[in-house]
Symmetry: C2
Subunit: 306 residues, 2 copies
Amino acid sequence: MSAAALPSWNDGVARAAILDFVARVTQEGGVDFVPPAQRIATFDNDGTLWCEQPQQVQFYFARQRLEALVEKDPGLKTRQPFQAYLEHDMAAIKDLGKKGLFEVAVAVHAGMTEDAFANYARGWLAKTKHPKLGRLFKELVYRPQLELLEYLRTNGFKTFIVSGGGIDLIRAFAEEVYGIPPEQVIGSSVRLHFEMQDGRGVLMKEAELNSFDDREVKPANIGLHIGRRPIFAFGNSDGDLAMLRYVRTGEGPRLALLLHHDDAAREFAYDREFRFSPLAEALDKADEYGITLVSMQRDWKRVFDD
Amino acid sequence: MSAAALPSWNDGVARAAILDFVARVTQEGGVDFVPPAQRIATFDNDGTLWCEQPQQVQFYFARQRLEALVEKDPGLKTRQPFQAYLEHDMAAIKDLGKKGLFEVAVAVHAGMTEDAFANYARGWLAKTKHPKLGRLFKELVYRPQLELLEYLRTNGFKTFIVSGGGIDLIRAFAEEVYGIPPEQVIGSSVRLHFEMQDGRGVLMKEAELNSFDDREVKPANIGLHIGRRPIFAFGNSDGDLAMLRYVRTGEGPRLALLLHHDDAAREFAYDREFRFSPLAEALDKADEYGITLVSMQRDWKRVFDD
């Protein structure tokens, strides 16, 4: 089985670590056996499961919606943080940070019902292409990771996403693309409130942040949503480090992986300087923290589906 | 199959409604067919799945912990809301309400790690008996509901708890007793923060409320945790009404059920006057809202396991 598993992964340290880990935790009677109910695996999304360059998809999603809103309310053009996004002022956007990006997304989607947002997001994802790679965003998911998700599930794991991106945007495609149902998606979120509208109960999105699911908040949200420590985690930036260390420092067998984007030819090469989610501390301390580095260039036979 | 299903339920309107609903949503090619991924069922816990009289279990749990803390810090004896609980001052406790009860639980468990809390709760549930019925709290679950949970899962449903009780206390027994894993438990919660302690990542419980999962907050938390509208819900008080209406007013086949505790002989009889979770509006408007009433006395052949 191992020979056929993960066909888009090259033989090497990372693939071997995955195969060895899964073999150990599924070996009944073995010293490292983990019952299926405890086989929880958590994945970051942006840059771990799909492409986040040159901008995170959330950026394009919010900006397109923002442009539509400006036609109705031209005053937004001179109001921050909207102005920075409308004018593509990258210095200002960098200053606003990943949280600022999410706050724009919050503002432009406030007042929609959850159902309306989901329809809007699905429609957007069904037609919107990456500006440089020319393919639908939802096709720019990493083939080796799709295989890994499936491989883990085949071995009794329950797979979750734990992302700094908006929880609803991810839920709009995660089931179709990753095989991960909405209830296994954790992400940044706005407050919701329930109300009756014309006899129908609806959830309204408010303009207020509920949770910005980054860094130390990721393990805290794992506690809230999952309620037990995962045994496997995969990330690609310092924003994932707390989650990786939370998972890695539990008792028993553990595997924490970190994707290094070092493949300018097939995707992008970036780490310390990426504006929203730099990879620096996690790269420098991976050994010390027991985190296994995955090199896109070296460890992946291919990146996207052809 | 139907003849053997739900053996602890008497033939009647409620049992027939459940069997009919499940038959319709699982009938492939039928007009009411619902794909398995969308078969989400949510249950309240206190008074719906287990006994909440004469006090909710949360009450006994927090009070025992409070008494232990008083030995270390006698000053708590004269500080509210602790004093009311220590002196069994029922008038003051009623004024504090269900949220006050939860806030006492918050205060007495702050500063514990999630792991330590889970161990403490499991130990407490393994030994603590109901003061009147003389059995372990975790044995005072309703046999007809255990059958219903299992029946739904057998028919492809995913079963969730959505409770005003503390999420961690429920997670400490829900898998063993209800077959519901921690990630399918939603409840009231405190804020958690992640930190490293002696090289180990832990989640610490703070003294601050994150969510009091009652009334309109229940559907909002369903939106956050599950991300799609359930098609089936079961409650027993006005605290569940928003959830029941949210579920009932979605498109397609829907079933919302409400347990009426009208059985003083086998359990307890109460509705409008129950101090923490009265059943009044939901009882008066069940017909108007399309909610099916379940009478404990009439619809259940037995209540607890012998």
